[in-house]
Symmetry: C2
Subunit: 314 residues, 2 copies
Amino acid sequence: MTRPVGIVGAGLVGSGWAIVFARAGYPVRVFDSDARTMATFAERVRGNLEDLARYELIDSPDAVFERVEMVDTLEQAVGEADHVQESVFERTDVKQAIYRQIDEVVGADTVVGSSSSGIPASEFTDGLDHRENYLVVHPVNPPYLVPVVEIVPAPWTRAEAVERATTLMEAVGQVPVLVRREVAGFVLNRLQGALLREAWALYEEGYASLEDIDKTVSAGLGRRWSFMGPFETIDLNAPGGISDYAERLGGLYLDIARQRSDPQPWSRNLIARADAERRGALPKESLGERTKWRDRRLMALSAFMARSREAEGE
Amino acid sequence: MTRPVGIVGAGLVGSGWAIVFARAGYPVRVFDSDARTMATFAERVRGNLEDLARYELIDSPDAVFERVEMVDTLEQAVGEADHVQESVFERTDVKQAIYRQIDEVVGADTVVGSSSSGIPASEFTDGLDHRENYLVVHPVNPPYLVPVVEIVPAPWTRAEAVERATTLMEAVGQVPVLVRREVAGFVLNRLQGALLREAWALYEEGYASLEDIDKTVSAGLGRRWSFMGPFETIDLNAPGGISDYAERLGGLYLDIARQRSDPQPWSRNLIARADAERRGALPKESLGERTKWRDRRLMALSAFMARSREAEGE
């Protein structure tokens, strides 16, 4: 019999993870110390499962939901688990507190992944009995629509825990990537941050509007990047491949980087201008509706991607 | 009767443009001073049109191809044109030479866009009689599959030329973005360069493999960026929108940027390592086949995008 997956923290991220594991056939046990969060959890998961069925990404919402059990104590969630996924609020002291509790009730062979998007595991697992089984397993939101997961071991995480987390992610249809050593922002947010920094600078200096910078990505760069990464993109963009491309364009890119060698904070004035432009395009009260639109687009894209890979025999 | 569009330079980029204009119903006149390029032009365009029909992106390859006329002189291509799109080899002296020739035979009201991906128009149009009608109109390859076009006026380009180029791009189904002043790399390649620089650095420092960095984009960041830009992405990633996001994450991104404040050239050793990893994944002789795969994926994505926008009533 398959051992259950424990979910600790039943908010937006935890409920996304519950869907990922239950969709793949795993029994899931969910715990949150906040009663109100637990109360909204079931409703949120049910709504998301119905959306997924509408886009033919799952067959039966009921069959998936039946695998999800809400439990009353932390011990029930993690005690028999093969893997625990922690998704509590992202603040070091909050993470430290929950890991001290997990450490007391967890099995010696249970791997515990943290959904931390930026705090490395070494900052909240040091000194714990089972710290060699703890690491970061960072998803993108919502994880059942965007498959990448960053696996980031602490210096003391044992190799077997990394392997088991990686294997599990593959088994549930995610795309694990290994960040070999801890680094601020891991890989995903460092790449996003680098592009954002240039985008903010171009906007600040008046070269283009926010909307036009967004279009440059959504109608340009992002099309290729949705199915192949930046290195493969440039590998196919010069007759001799990536080394040919680097020879041709390395100089231009170095010049551009040198113009940006004194990074400054995004000023209040800059942020206020950007905020005004965005709120003109999308009023604050419409953010929730637009987020639902984004998720519908991601669902349609997921379904399309699955068909494309099938058509290509991948 | 619609005045024709002139295409100067019938290579990869010029043939892509011929498809964009002819697909939208415009008569197109194509000239290239190189007979071999002209000889391969027709075959390449026909092949691409057949691919587009297979993905239901056009109805009749013949009907589109009939609008494309190959002509024997530069004057025939540009003399009666409403818009000329120049796509000759990207080197300043080559651009200067062709613009001197264009300037002698072009009408006083014809707008001339250059497909230059990095050289600003001021470097090859200064001193010409009709320089106020010349500007950069930079596509992504292939333009009939990736719709963004950067419109970059020289300091002397008149506002009407910018407006006409923008209106024409919208009329033929492209997505024009305005780069208000000339800047090295324009917007698209500056954004790409910023992300690439961080990607190369993470690879060089051993944090992740090329393949895993690619997956972080293709299975992560690139999914959202294929239909919304980086600013809209962060606007939807914090409860209070973009200003809330900037408050929360500005500090992290500033720290990361400060770690990268001394940009160095990509070393020969680094490029050689990356080349070895890529050639292990994809042998050099397979680059052409993989490029065809990329174009098939882009075609399928274009068809999907059109359906999605329709479903959303956009």
